[in-house]
């Protein structure tokens, strides 16, 4: 079977992503002062970068391999563990499933640098465990058995893997948590039960098959989070991998090194997606047509209230701490001021994202069929957009030497927001068909205003709060990685990420200072997500259910 390049490009997301990221890395290099020849050298892997000598690819190759190994281990471990835990929770009942989901959210939105620093502190000070990678030198002479050495070496790469698996575990729990409960209530599953299929087979054969798409979505969406986490974890543990190289490049603001780093990342993502594509081809996913998907986030009101109370209590504690304990005043005031500023930025950013998202959705809705098809193509890579955004941010800051402000960030953020909202519209395709059958002209502004907009409003609300939490956590990452070479003019004065970076230098002196800002970011994200779901539910109840077509829209 002969396939043209165009077909391959159209079918392979991995290849498209690799090409896009490579172009971005070349742009980074050229805007950072590199020549055309440097670009060619980068592509063939002989560009000398930093102090690492001739041939970027030679040393980057091993760094990429080391990183890819721990990332693979972390993703595999995290996904398996989250799947297993979600299953166990679903066996225990709906409450435990939702609890698992809530725990997942907490884990997924915990600033990874804080977790990493606290683990470092606990390992060294509490458990007396060495972290070999943090010392780039063999200091003291001693003799050990090969068994001992093997264990020591294994600990060297297991610890970063373990840390990297935490956000994956969180995302996995969030994804699978409630999914299994709703799956078990599906008519298909009930039918299987009635036909005498064993519980084991129902769970591991059918549930897994029915969750495959969700898992695919999750695996595709993981690279940005895992890769940023890798940069942070490797830097903190001084693990000699691709992420540590990138962290150094980023902090130095060195364009050639960043380009090489991004180029190395392109290979990693391409392999990641390539493997996924291969798996999909080898083991095709079962059809989802028979499944009635309930998109509502049911019974979240309790969690929403709980999360809101938690957020409010956290904020109140931070705000009033210094008034209650004036002896230690200063630190909490600083944290509360930072949180206030960051929350305002996040609200503003999320608002911009939502507006941009609605505009984009409207544009796509009203445009011809070809555009809709393009949108469909876009949706296939939409979850990887943050990766490109990181590249564009690097390009903007390092290559063009411009600060990263709120407006720019909101523009960048609008792309995934548009994607997310478009997906909501996509879910209402059925309703469009239904409306067409009534002879209403499809894709008109009044139709959008009267029918589609009320229908997507819950999605918009949810999007706003989702963007808010995403903004909060990514703002934290950016401001952490931006030190001391400031990535953002907006974040440079004081930011939670910056504060965590400063605290990382003195973690052994007062690790406790890490907790308030980190926990507050997590709590705020947690609260925003549940609040968004609750409000989204509230909006939804007033609307006709267009999905099954049993009710007339007018």
């Amino acid at each position: 079977m002969k396939e043209g390049l165009g077909t391959i490009l159209r079918n392979s997301i991995a290849l498209r992503v690799w090409i896009s990221m490579t172009i971005l890395s070349l742009l980074l290099l050229w805007f950072g002062g590199g020549t055309f020849l440097d670009g060619l050298k980068l592509l063939v892997g002989v560009l000398a970068v930093g102090n690492e000598g001739e041939g970027s690819l030679r040393f980057l190759f091993w760094r990429v391999v080391r990183s890819f190994f721990i990332m693979g281990l972390a993703v595999m471990g995290g996904l398996c563990a989250s799947f297993a835990l979600s299953l166990v929770a679903s066996f225990m009942g709906a409450f435990f499933s939702r609890l698992a989901r809530a725990l997942g959210r907490l884990l997924g939105y915990m600033p990874i640098m804080s977790v990493c620093l606290l683990v470092i502190y606990a390992c060294i000070k509490q458990w007396e465990l060495p972290i070999e990678s943090m010392l780039p030198f063999e200091t003291k002479s001693f003799s050990e058995t090969w068994f001992n050495k093997l264990g020591r070496d294994a600990w060297g790469w297991l610890l970063p893997s373990l840390l990297l698996s935490l956000p994956v575990l969180g995302k996995g729990l969030e994804h699978f948590g409630e999914n299994f409960v709703s799956l078990s209530k599906q008519p298909l599953m009930l039918g299987l039960k009635a036909r005498g299929v064993t519980r084991t087979d129902r769970v591991f054969v059918h549930t897994f098959a029915l969750s495959a798409e969700k898992m695919r979505d999750l695996v595709v969406s993981l690279p940005p989070l895992v890769m940023v986490s890798t940069i942070i974890v490797e830097e903190l543990l001084r693990y000699k991998g691709w992420g540590e190289f990138g962290a150094k490049a980023l902090r130095a603001g060195d364009a050639p090194r960043l380009a090489a780093f991004f180029y190395g990342g392109a290979f990693m993502v391409a392999i990641w997606l390539g493997l996924l594509e291969w798996l999909e081809r080898r083991y095709p996913m079962p059809s989802q047509e028979t499944l009635h998907r309930e998109d509502r986030d049911s019974s979240n009101m309790g969690w929403g209230i709980l999360a809101s109370l938690l957020g409010a209590a956290g904020l109140a504690t931070i705000w009033f701490w210094d008034h209650l304990f004036p002896a230690n005043s200063g630190f909490f005031t600083q944290v509360s001021l930072m949180l206030e500023a960051e929350l305002l930025h996040a609200i503003y950013g999320a608002f911009c994202c939502t507006v941009w998202g609605v505009i984009l959705t409207l544009v796509f809705f009203l445009t011809p069929k070809a555009w809709s098809e393009a949108l469909g193509e876009f949706l296939r890579v939409g979850r990887l957009i943050p990766l490109f955004l990181i590249g564009i941010c690097f390009l903007w800051v390092t290559g063009l030497q411009r600060p990263l402000g709120t407006w720019l960030l909101s523009f960048f953020m609008s792309v995934p927001a548009g994607y997310a909202l478009s997906k909501v519209v996509d879910q209402y395709k059925g309703s469009l068909r239904y409306l067409s059958s009534y002879g209403v002209g499809a894709k008109s502004l009044p139709l959008f205003a009267k029918v589609i907009w009320p229908a997507v409003l819950p999605g918009v609300v949810k999007l706003f709060f989702h963007a808010l939490s995403t903004w909060l956590i990514w703002q934290c990452f950016i401001s952490y990685l931006g030190k001391p070479h400031q990535l953002s003019a907006l974040l440079e004065s004081s930011s939670v990420g910056g504060l965590i970076y400063e605290q990382s230098e003195v973690i052994f002196d007062h690790y406790i200072h890490l907790l308030p800002p980190s926990l507050m970011i997590t709590t705020l994200c947690f609260t925003a997500l549940y609040l968004g779901e609750c409000l989204s539910e509230a909006c939804r109840t007033a609307q006709p259910n267009l999905r099954d077509g049993r009710q007339k829209p007018f």
């Binding site: 060294i124 007396e128 060495p130 943090m134 030198f137 003291k140 264990g151 990382s504 230098e505 003195v506």
Partner: protein, 667 residues
């Protein structure tokens, strides 16, 4: 296939968890097994030169202390103590010339006829007549003996000694030698000293008029040399101080080779041919010759009576002659052979291995049970250093300022503080009104809260030291710092007639009290400090006008021209006791005495210090000078940075006294 998934889904996390537990246990076991070395880590990225004569950083300084022994060591408490040199003595030969040998012999007879008490009083050891020359050897250098003795032989009409300075365009040595070979009156030239390629000095006695005519004639025949001859000074005798020293019998390098006079001479010539010890260059220029008496005994002759000549031997490490012969040329070509092939020193340790960012130092003292080896790591990430310390991998390090408070609370830790050589101060122009009044300058100092400045500028890692000498050095009187006292400062100013106006400024004769404070531009830290000072003086009621300018302009146009009120500058603490160039009134108009301080008391002490050879008296004089100087408040010392070395005092139950001492913990 999907059925097998259950094993993967549950098996992978379980296997990873078990593997993690096992590996963590193994890693913990390996951590407990480590011992032996004492590891010192530094985050300073500057290259460690290992050059003991030109230490550039703290690591270099610390290494010098353990790798090398000095000829004479300076000790904060005991003053100058013997190092490689076991004993040393200053002597002086003073020579006079007479009209003929008979008169010289008569003078000799007169001296020999003096009572033994007088010989002792003059510290006279021996006299010798050679033709018309009478040489007298004294047991002390720089004493009054020669002058007193001169009075006894004055009746024989000793010929005066003149010092001529000859300046030529080039090849001074060549022309001098050529002239001396052929000059008729060459016997009148008692000593010649080549200062540079364009300059030399002649000590002449006798028929100096004819010699001068001959010399002028010679240079008239060489107009291209543009020679300039002038009489620089006249004196009664030709003095030639002599330093003689005995090396310790057991003095040897770490490879077991004994330290000989050849090593000492080679080191002296090697070191002072380089620009490393510029502060001692004046003393080295006075060295006439070095003479070996035996393997362990040597003499150094000097051209002139200059007490600080002793500085040449103080805190000077000695390295083997063989190393100098082998590597001196490579060093000249720009290769740092100190790192590539470190010389063996005479200290307690020797270098075992030099890596790119590490140095392994083995301790030679067999009495020391632990540690047997020191490892120095530098240019390391500060977080990694701290982690290493927490993991017991690192035993000593320089923590960040914010961590010191926390670390000092730990039981097994000893802190060693070291002041930097550089400090910041404000020079007052003592000729400018109202800064010409000592009380006024004192009040200005009292109004500055220096502890606050240290907190603001150095996060508390600094100290106030009012003296001129390095704090804690053998020369320092360690003067007490004047405490911040705004009220007392106000009272002083009030007594001087300054009263506050409605705006809060001090006024006198309707003039607001103000002065200009100069500082260098392009240095944000200095600007910040200047603004803090401005704010503090404003609190007192003084209006300070800040002026920033390039460094060249500050020194050349303002300080040199004495065109300033006050200047904020950074200068090094003094480690040498000759301070004449900086504070003598003769330097107040054109020299380096920028403050234009004129004080006969200070001048007297400065002059005495130049003449004194006895370390005990030098120490007392230097301390007196410091106190006297501080009473005049010619400058306001602000602060100097302090680095703190954290040393693990008790590693796994073993008190590492040796390591602590080796690392300067007792400083």
């Amino acid at each position: 296939m999907l059925k097998g998934l259950r094993w993967i889904i549950f098996g992978v996390p379980l296997a990873l968890a078990l593997l993690t537990i096992w590996s963590a246990k193994q890693a913990k076991n390996s951590r407990i097994a480590r011992h032996d070395d004492f590891v010192i880590a530094s985050s300073v990225s500057e290259a460690v030169t290992l050059n003991p004569f030109n230490a550039v950083g703290e690591v270099d300084l610390e290494l010098r202390k353990i790798l090398h022994e000095s000829l004479i060591r300076s000790d904060a408490k005991a003053g100058l103590v013997s190092g490689i040199i076991e004993k040393w003595q200053w002597q002086q030969t003073s020579t006079v010339w007479f009209a003929n040998s008979d008169i010289a012999k008569k003078a000799e007879a007169k001296i020999r006829g003096l009572t033994p008490e007088l010989w002792e009083k003059f510290s006279l050891i021996e006299i010798e007549v050679k033709d018309n020359e009478l040489a007298m050897e004294f047991g002390q250098a720089g004493s009054l003996g020669p002058s007193l003795l001169y009075q006894h032989i004055a009746e024989f009409g000793p010929l005066p000694l003149e010092q001529w300075r000859v300046e030529v365009a080039s090849e001074a040595k060549h022309h001098h030698e050529f002239f001396i070979q052929n000059a008729l009156e060459k016997s009148q030239v008692k000593r010649a000293r080549i200062l540079s390629d364009q300059e030399y000095l002649l000590d002449v006695s006798g028929e100096t008029v004819r010699l001068m005519e001959e010399l002028q004639l010679y240079y008239q025949n060489h107009p291209q040399l543009k020679a300039r001859i002038r009489v620089a000074s006249k004196q009664a005798m030709l003095h030639k101080p002599l330093f003689q020293a005995l090396l310790r019998e057991d003095a040897k390098f770490q490879d077991g080779q004994p330290i000989t006079v050849e090593d000492v001479e080679s080191t002296l010539r090697f070191v002072y041919s380089k620009p490393w010890l510029a502060e001692k260059a004046d003393a080295w220029r006075l060295v006439d010759s070095i003479q070996k008496v035996s393997d362990k005994h040597f003499k150094v002759y000097f051209y002139d009576v200059y007490g600080p000549s002793l500085q040449l031997f103080v805190d000077l490490p000695i390295i083997p002659k063989t190393w100098i012969d082998q590597f001196s040329a490579s060093l000249d070509s720009g290769v740092n052979v100190f790192r590539q092939n470190p010389p063996r020193g005479a200290g307690k340790a020797y270098i075992e291995h030099v890596g790119e960012r590490s140095i392994s130092v083995a301790l030679a003292d067999e009495k020391i049970q632990w540690p047997k080896r020191l490892q120095l790591l530098f240019g390391q990430n500060s977080r990694a250093i701290r982690t290493g310390y927490e993991m017991d991998e690192i035993d000593a390090f320089w923590p960040s300022s914010s961590s010191i408070e926390y670390i000092s609370k730990e039981d097994e830790v000893k802190l060693s503080k070291q002041s930097s050589l550089n400090r910041l101060l404000i020079l007052w122009n003592t000729r400018r009104t109202p800064l010409d009044k000592v009380d006024f300058r004192r009040a200005m100092g009292m109004a500055v809260n220096r502890e606050f400045l240290i907190k603001e500028m150095l996060q508390g890692q600094g100290r106030v030291h009012d003296g001129i000498f390095y704090p804690g050095s053998w020369l320092s009187s360690n003067p007490e710092s004047e405490a911040f006292n705004l009220e007392a400062a106000r009272k002083i100013l009030y007594s001087l007639g300054w009263v506050r106006n409605e705006e809060g400024y001090l006024v006198k004769n309707q003039e607001v009290l103000s002065f200009r404070l100069l500082t260098v531009e392009g240095n944000p830290e200095r600007s910040k400090l200047a603004k803090l000072l401005e704010a503090q003086w404003k609190e007192l009621g003084v209006k300070v006008i800040l002026e920033e300018m390039p460094l060249n302009e500050l020194f050349n146009n303002r300080l040199q021209q004495r065109n300033f009120d006050a200047a904020l500058i950074g200068v090094n603490f003094e480690t040498q006791w000759d301070q004449l160039a900086l504070w003598h009134s003769s330097q107040s108009v054109r020299g380096l005495n920028f403050t234009s301080l004129i004080s006969p008391e200070v001048d007297a002490k400065l002059e005495s210090l130049r003449q004194e050879f006895d370390p005990k008296i030098i120490q007392n004089l230097a301390r007196d000078l410091e106190k006297e100087l501080m009473e005049h408040h010619p400058f306001l010392a602000l602060f100097c940075a302090e680095s703190t070395l954290v040393i693990r005092n008790n590693l796994k139950g073993t008190i590492s006294e040796h390591a602590t001492r080796l690392m300067g913990g007792d400083r």
